[in-house]
């Protein structure tokens, strides 16, 4: 029998960006909040020895321990789902700050088109443009409605950037100027301008200069050390929840964080949650935390998994297309880029930052005419300089052997002589892409793992090939002296090579309880005191990194929780 703890106003499941933002906003208004985090505490001092590629990037120091919990995967229903035994395609965060600690800091706003994707696609191209089985739908909110929340997130995090000429309208400029430009970035800019494209510096959470945010949190500028993705920042220059929102919540004295607390069920009485059941993993003790409001802010997979295990909300059924929990799982189409080899010049490619890049949206969203194309949406195209660390970066021109004398010579030669232009493609949902509970494999507590059923579609292959050609045109203009490689081909989705930790969907937002799990405050249609926050709310994934939009939605949800609390109940929409 679980030990019952005193009731609190709000309990938060997972303390990353979503949890940190919700906690800072609610405690500011006087609510008592408990944050349950399954991982350990984290702080900037932990990263004293962070420039360690083997430990952090290759051995996944900061990621979830897969021996305790993983996911299972199959390409389609007829295939047996098997566990992801080692990391590959995406990396699952854990610990205080979650994935918000080891992200790169690329902070976009999704396009106005994204939020009304179905209406706008039909309006411009007709219903027939949407292929059979593609389940795109409007998000139940517009870009203009979400704009103030984007702005709030950017000001809190101190995003460094300049206006996207093809993006949604902004109420104010970015709080800090763009990052410094490298030679490679200047070359990309020049090439893109020659082609009449619209390049802009990628909005970055790695601060371009020292910044004090509206909460009074001061952070130092980025040092371009080249250790961002998969690493924590030893300067606190990269915005993460631990150096921004969490201390603000803690300062109120109303936010209690309990680490090593693994939430296993949402407890509910019919359609009203009463709290959560969790295990203290240091003692094995089961505890019940009663609360008036439950906010799920764990990663996509655990938001879905917790709802399904707790039997809250209607599970999605791909056979009928009915039900909502687990619906519209989407990912990111990362293949489709181009590489240029420069025999005659060396670049300082060892230096960089996670969000140091220039990009363009000429081929993203519906910024270009798709009338004669066999796909919709597109990709943000960019040249980034993240810092090429030596274990993971040994690209050699095609035709060079993968080991031996020739490999060694070529990999050394091109270590600082290779630039690539990449496309981050949107991933649109299909009826047969979904999340549910695995019937065979269990986690360390004996609970079922989440199961992913997903593959790339013709839409993705067409988009990848198209964008690869565009990347090729830009790199060609940049004038590599040796060789250009264009990666047009997108194979089946393979869980082994790293692609992107941009998994989305499963608890999607929308205008109707028939087709979505949460309303535009991320309040569950079927359980009014449960809010489900994160990229799980995305009805599809855009051609961008998701965190900017997750941040905006988190502020929106925080406002929803407060409204709900003040109004004393009921649906907010």
């Amino acid at each position: 029998m679980a030990k019952k703890l005193p009731k609190v106003d709000v309990v938060i499941v997972g303390v990353g960006w979503g949890g940190g933002i919700i906690a800072s906003e609610l405690t500011r208004q006087g609510l008592n909040v408990v944050g349950l985090e399954r991982g350990k505490e984290r702080k900037t001092e932990d990263y004293f020895m962070v420039h360690d590629e083997l430990r952090y990037a290759m051995r996944y120091e900061m990621m979830q321990d897969l021996s305790k919990e993983t996911i299972t995967f199959r390409s389609k229903n007829s295939v047996r789902a098997l566990p992801m035994r080692s990391y590959g395609s995406f990396l699952l965060g854990t610990g205080l700050g979650g994935s918000g600690v080891h992200w790169n800091g690329q902070t976009f706003r999704f396009l106005p088109y994204d939020f009304e994707i179905r209406s706008k696609t039909v309006e411009r191209y007709g219903e027939k443009k949407i292929p059979d089985g593609m389940t795109i739908q409007d998000w139940g909110i517009t870009y203009d409605e979400l704009e103030p929340y984007f702005d709030k997130f950017e000001r809190m995090a101190g995003i460094s950037g300049e206006e996207n000429p093809l993006g949604g309208k902004r109420s104010q400029p970015y709080p800090t100027p763009p990052m410094k430009m490298t030679t490679s970035i200047k070359m990309f800019q020049e090439a893109a301008k020659k082609k009449n494209l619209h390049p802009f510096m990628l909005p970055s959470a790695n601060l371009s200069q020292a910044y004090t945010n509206p909460d009074g949190v001061s952070r130092a500028a980025c040092q371009y050390c080249g250790y961002c993705e998969r690493f924590g920042c030893e300067y606190g220059a990269k915005a993460d929840p631990v150096v921004t929102v969490i201390p603000i919540a803690q300062k109120t004295g109303k936010f209690e964080i309990r680490t090593h607390s693994h939430v296993r069920r949402i407890l509910h009485n019919g359609n009203k949650a009463t709290g959560v059941l969790y295990t203290d993993i240091t003692t094995g003790e089961e505890l019940e935390q009663p609360a008036d409001i439950v906010v799920l802010t764990s990663y996509v997979f655990n938001n879905v998994r917790l709802l399904l295990m707790s039997k809250l909300g209607r599970p999605y059924d791909p056979a009928t297309g009915k039900g909502v929990i687990g619906k519209n799982y989407a990912y990111q189409v990362i293949r489709g880029g181009a590489i240029g080899f420069f025999d005659d010049r060396e670049f300082n490619l060892y230096a960089g930052a996670g969000a140091l890049a220039m990009c363009l949206d000429d081929y993203n969203g519906d910024n270009f005419d798709h009338s004669d194309l066999n796909f919709i949406h597109g990709a943000n195209i960019s040249l980034s300089q993240l810092g090429l660390r030596p274990i993971a970066n040994n690209k050699v021109p095609e035709g060079t052997p993968g080991w031996g004398k020739e490999f060694k010579a070529a990999s050394i030669k091109y270590a600082n002589r290779m630039l690539s232009v990449g496309a981050q493609g949107a991933s649109l949902p299909f009826r047969h892409h979904f999340l549910d509970l695995d019937s065979t494999y269990k986690d360390v507590f004996g609970d079922p793992l989440i199961r992913i059923t997903y593959d790339f579609e013709e839409q993705d292959r067409q988009q990848a090939a198209y964008c690869a050609d565009k990347c090729g045109e830009i790199i060609k203009e940049m004038g590599p002296s040796s060789k250009i490689e264009i990666n047009r081909k997108l194979g089946p989705y393979d869980i082994t090579p790293y692609q992107s930790t941009h998994n989305t969907g499963g608890v999607i937002m929308g205008a109707s309880p028939e087709t979505s799990a949460v309303n535009n405050y991320l309040q569950m249609w079927e359980a009014e005191n449960v809010f489900v926050v994160g990229a799980s709310a995305f009805a599809h994934n855009s051609g961008y990194n998701p965190t900017g939009t997750v941040g905006a939605l988190s502020y929106r949800a925080a406002e929803g929780v407060l409204k709900y609390r003040q109004s004393g109940g009921g649906s907010l929409v």
Partner: protein, 247 residues
Amino acid sequence: MAQTNNGNEQPVSRRNFLKNSGLVIGGLVVGGVAGSLLNRTPAPQQPGTTPAPMADFNQALMYFTPEQFKVVEAACERIFPEDENGPGAKVLGAAYFIDHQLAGDWGFNARDYMSDPFYPGEVTQGYQGRLKRREIFDIGIQEMNNYSNSTQQKRFYELAPEQQDTVLKAFESDEVKLTTISASAFFKMLRASTLEGVYSDPLYGGNKNMDGWRLRNYPGNQMSYAQVIEQDKFVKMAPLSLRDHQH
């Protein structure tokens, strides 16, 4: 008969010890520990000369047998050979790196999901075997010697470099058919861990003296490139390792 030290007898030499203990049969040395002891002649001490560099105490085996180590060291060197650009995997200590990695978490797949049931899957579902990395290495190394023996009548590390390449290619392409593990998957792991051994921070036992990083002008652990990032010219820097944080 008990040995006495009456001044006429030499102390028991290593060779005599081995002979007497039956490890040397008809003058032919059995491999492994005995062989390595036998071939070692202590360097004469010459007073007045510069002292030898401090011993690298990290270069001792945590997991491999000496026989396994020889196979791995030879294979690493073919994957990343010494050439006019500089040292290869052997001098850089990649085989020691792999040995040390297999001795710990990574070798035991401690942070991987290793629960049953085990079913063969599609390639896109990733590794689905029950064997741990250290077991895969044990089998892979043994099979490299077996294959070398059956095709060339020699152990892998006794082959000429070109012959070693032929063996590695046979593993890489799955021309070697193994029942327990995939030859190509083992090769892939060997290749990947060789590069890790060449380029990880020297604290792990490879990338000796940061010479792996020097090959490609990688500056290692630097606190800031704020002064470098905007420069058009390539900036060459002497590398630093994580050790610099504490010494």
